[in-house]
Symmetry: D2
Subunit: 341 residues, 4 copies
Amino acid sequence: MLIVMKPDATSQDIERVNEEIRRRGWQPNAIPGGTRTAIGITGNKGAVEAEPFRVLPGVADAIPISQPFKLVSREVKPEDTVMQVGNLHLGGNAIHVMAGPCSVETREQIVGTAQAVKKSGATMLRGGAFKPRTSPYEFQGLKNDGLSLLAEARKETGLLVVTEVKDTATLPQVAEVADILQVGARNMQNFSLLEAVGETRKPVLLKRGLSATIKELLMAAEYIVAKGNTRVILCERGIRTFETMTRNTLDLNAVPMLKSLSHLPVWVDPSHGIGVRKAVPAMMRAAIAVGADGLIVEVHPDPPRALSDGHQSLEFSEFDKAMSEVRAIAGALGRDVARLG
Amino acid sequence: MLIVMKPDATSQDIERVNEEIRRRGWQPNAIPGGTRTAIGITGNKGAVEAEPFRVLPGVADAIPISQPFKLVSREVKPEDTVMQVGNLHLGGNAIHVMAGPCSVETREQIVGTAQAVKKSGATMLRGGAFKPRTSPYEFQGLKNDGLSLLAEARKETGLLVVTEVKDTATLPQVAEVADILQVGARNMQNFSLLEAVGETRKPVLLKRGLSATIKELLMAAEYIVAKGNTRVILCERGIRTFETMTRNTLDLNAVPMLKSLSHLPVWVDPSHGIGVRKAVPAMMRAAIAVGADGLIVEVHPDPPRALSDGHQSLEFSEFDKAMSEVRAIAGALGRDVARLG
Amino acid sequence: MLIVMKPDATSQDIERVNEEIRRRGWQPNAIPGGTRTAIGITGNKGAVEAEPFRVLPGVADAIPISQPFKLVSREVKPEDTVMQVGNLHLGGNAIHVMAGPCSVETREQIVGTAQAVKKSGATMLRGGAFKPRTSPYEFQGLKNDGLSLLAEARKETGLLVVTEVKDTATLPQVAEVADILQVGARNMQNFSLLEAVGETRKPVLLKRGLSATIKELLMAAEYIVAKGNTRVILCERGIRTFETMTRNTLDLNAVPMLKSLSHLPVWVDPSHGIGVRKAVPAMMRAAIAVGADGLIVEVHPDPPRALSDGHQSLEFSEFDKAMSEVRAIAGALGRDVARLG
Amino acid sequence: MLIVMKPDATSQDIERVNEEIRRRGWQPNAIPGGTRTAIGITGNKGAVEAEPFRVLPGVADAIPISQPFKLVSREVKPEDTVMQVGNLHLGGNAIHVMAGPCSVETREQIVGTAQAVKKSGATMLRGGAFKPRTSPYEFQGLKNDGLSLLAEARKETGLLVVTEVKDTATLPQVAEVADILQVGARNMQNFSLLEAVGETRKPVLLKRGLSATIKELLMAAEYIVAKGNTRVILCERGIRTFETMTRNTLDLNAVPMLKSLSHLPVWVDPSHGIGVRKAVPAMMRAAIAVGADGLIVEVHPDPPRALSDGHQSLEFSEFDKAMSEVRAIAGALGRDVARLG
């Protein structure tokens, strides 16, 4: 159920609706919009009757929601969510690109990469410190030392930092450094982690699981938003199919589908999406053309020597060239690619 | 094995190589290139020794081919194949768009659509006359009457005609009318049909099967080219995955992979690729951005009343708008979109 | 629409219903059952009104059919189809096993295999003469010579012969020799071939396509039955998934689903279903336990030297041991495994 | 690298090898076998030289391991792992069945179900207390109250209790009650949780992820065993494919593949594997026939009223009948189905 308030509803009217919701043992979730507020109800087990809410002052309508996601849906909030992170505004007309290595390896590597990707037009730096790996015998990241190096690279360049949080135990230390928390594909249905990042007030980049449907991605986002954290970025990063020539199958169909169902920004990870270095720039172009609001790209000073994902990381010069193409396509479609001052 | 001739090899030199191949019970397959000819060997069961060929006059090199496809591969022919069809050149810098209804239904429908899509910038008309359908109780097309209507629409507009050939029995009559023969996804491994279209000298639009790998698509094309028909267009049209919100998962990863492995033109069918009308323009844009050489798009004067595929067919005005975006993106990447005179 | 006749309806009553159906431009399809006849209607585009049929003499009921398959469904014919082929009855309580090499290679190979598998308890011999292959450079079978060798092996052993028909052009010669026509996975939606085998009166073993849904398999069978050939065996042979350790993923779920939806016999091909020789006996056991009515198993006198599919073919002794287990499981479930006299 | 000790190696010899491993900064992992001990090395980044170990006293051989899993592999430990849990021995010739509702709902429901499934031959009770759910608005389980009810049901019946642990935060309380910890499909690559259960000494039932390969399942098990917890049960529960008629596609191919690669017991969950109540018994039979060491089955006193998974839960009488078939098949293959005293 979604309670839509009139444009001239007072904060007193809103509080009255919230009280009625709480009185029934449910939670109200305010979703502020451009011209008016909507209030989602969560915590109800059965159906919610509309009538008792329709008669309250300031209420325009009470709409039963049929889809299993509510707070993230356009039915609840028709306008695009634009979120401020540092000085940047994500989710508006401007496209953002975050770039950097799969894993933070050394000070030189991460600061050098940050400087290079900033010059090419990235506004954010990605880099893994705590790395979930398929085998227990693979490199698991520099952990806290990696976080410190990311902070240093931010200080040097002004780039915002996105890094993955792999469990609730390390969430506090990761959240202290990261500007944006990344939840990885294998954790997309780690519901305890989703709830924990929902309780922080850090923006979250939520990656689609390897075999998650579009609807399941939206429900995973709903877990975060239901805890009060409305700054969620949805990220398509390739799904698992029968095709073996590419690491994953980048499902760009998901971008227009997500944009029509949800008000949240939709990003694309072309590096994991294809997993073949030479083809990453083509997928960057396609992602922008299809309507993505941002890209997350793996870039490394020396891909063949990377400790992880070297086969899909771009060199500085490859990234620079790809960014020109990204700007050309964005321009052709009337969008900007954001740059740092 | 691939015999690469020197740039100054004479036709006598080439014939000498062919004879040596035939003498062993194999078939030579000449692959003419811009500056020199290569000769693929087919019909051999075991390995082919290079030495006996290397010593022949006019031979530059004899290269063992490890991949299961030869004639369609870039190893054999590094330059892009450009094919003339009518007055058009497919496969070069210019992008072509074929558009039209899923099924030919009436004279008014097909001629009207042809005029509209020509005005918006299509150079070819698509329309099904013989329709393979999942259920025996679905509309199976107007058959020969549909072919006649396609021919009429061509006469009225000058658009080239592409239509599907569903079996060897109807191939002669379809080939009489079609400028390009379409082999549908469900027939991609109908090897007898592949051989039959390989024996015509009509260009072939070969659609990827629902669960065909990229390598299998190339081997299907190899069947056609091995019969001497070198004018094959590869077409990505969506694969079958676990996602149910879209009809198929358009695998745009396939485009750069195919372009790097093969010299054949690569096209995309965004209509079947997503199967959701409102999202088709986004996928058209993505296909151009990723590097496709052409598009095949379903357009219908009145989609809700179409006898088949109405849910994924664009109205004239939607197609017209999408074509503007296609031109903008092509322009941003230094490519043209071909138009009829 | 399905017209169900009363148990005491006369053949005149039935003909009267047929006439009413034909008068509307549709086709009647008689489906004889144990106690009464049902008549399926095909060829109708829109809905069929029940009333005009309900009032005819001898009609018990007229039932609208919602599923896209009719003639193959249990709604139309509740009892299991039992079909006579030679002296055998397929589809009843007794389980049948067909075994033999992927390809017919030599007289010694095929006759020797026939004798061995007969001794172990097979009632039918499989062997490919016309082979559809992914690459044009692979062994395509002995063709007509292969058919002759199969006929010879039948003469020597009394085993019935099943062999694949790959196209309509070779159907007449294959149908002359085969006791059962096999339609391969890649041809499951070759609708022209389905119609052609539907016009013969040979039993058909229809294999599920690599990415065909259970519903699509039933609709492919419907194509055959709608042409009047009611002797169709459905065969699960593995589907294509992301798992690469096995050749396919044998979908044994399909067996109980097909058995509940259709009256046709359901068989399993464990050899293609897993593609790993050592694991084939385990899958044979599972197929019998899940309720399959028959098995088709690849057996070769010398698997490592087979011209095709050696990696998944059993040796004679492996097959013999597996057949003992099959009999033990069938017995535990109250079913027999048929043997030749 | 795996160090295989001689049958007569002393514990002093073993300790000497361990020291050499630790001296290099790696961890030794003892894998006790029937006749001799093997020691796996973990924590090494690059290759390990065999020579320095081969010369130590008591060492039979030092074997480079190419597969990305070691401790769980048959190369390291050829004999089946048999684990004692309570008075039961899992992994030997006897098959075990755990049964119970998806979620613990009431005392009456869980105790009643425990009594019924015990009577039919189950040795363990399953029931969810902490439930991970796709949507935040679905029933999340009775949590600690659910654990108490499970303990009560155990006290009443003697059945061992298996229940899911959904995160590290609730692991201590779950481990206090559960005899076996279940790690669910969506957590199969929650590496922090895998490590945490690896640090307990509770047996773990590890379910295969929806899109996890067989190799990835083994690597997930490796995470647990590498922490010193060798009592892991691998559980196939269906993978995600294009087929929509069933909830998942039960991949019974995985059973013989896992049994040949690993010494750990392999179980099957037919309830999630097909998700269709009427077909669950068929899949139970198939799982036993294919070689599974155990089953986990959803049973509920009143499936249509279950708070979760009612569509795939068996009634008591259905389960009882299915268990008879399970015993018949096990008997036919020379295996027992364990019963409580």
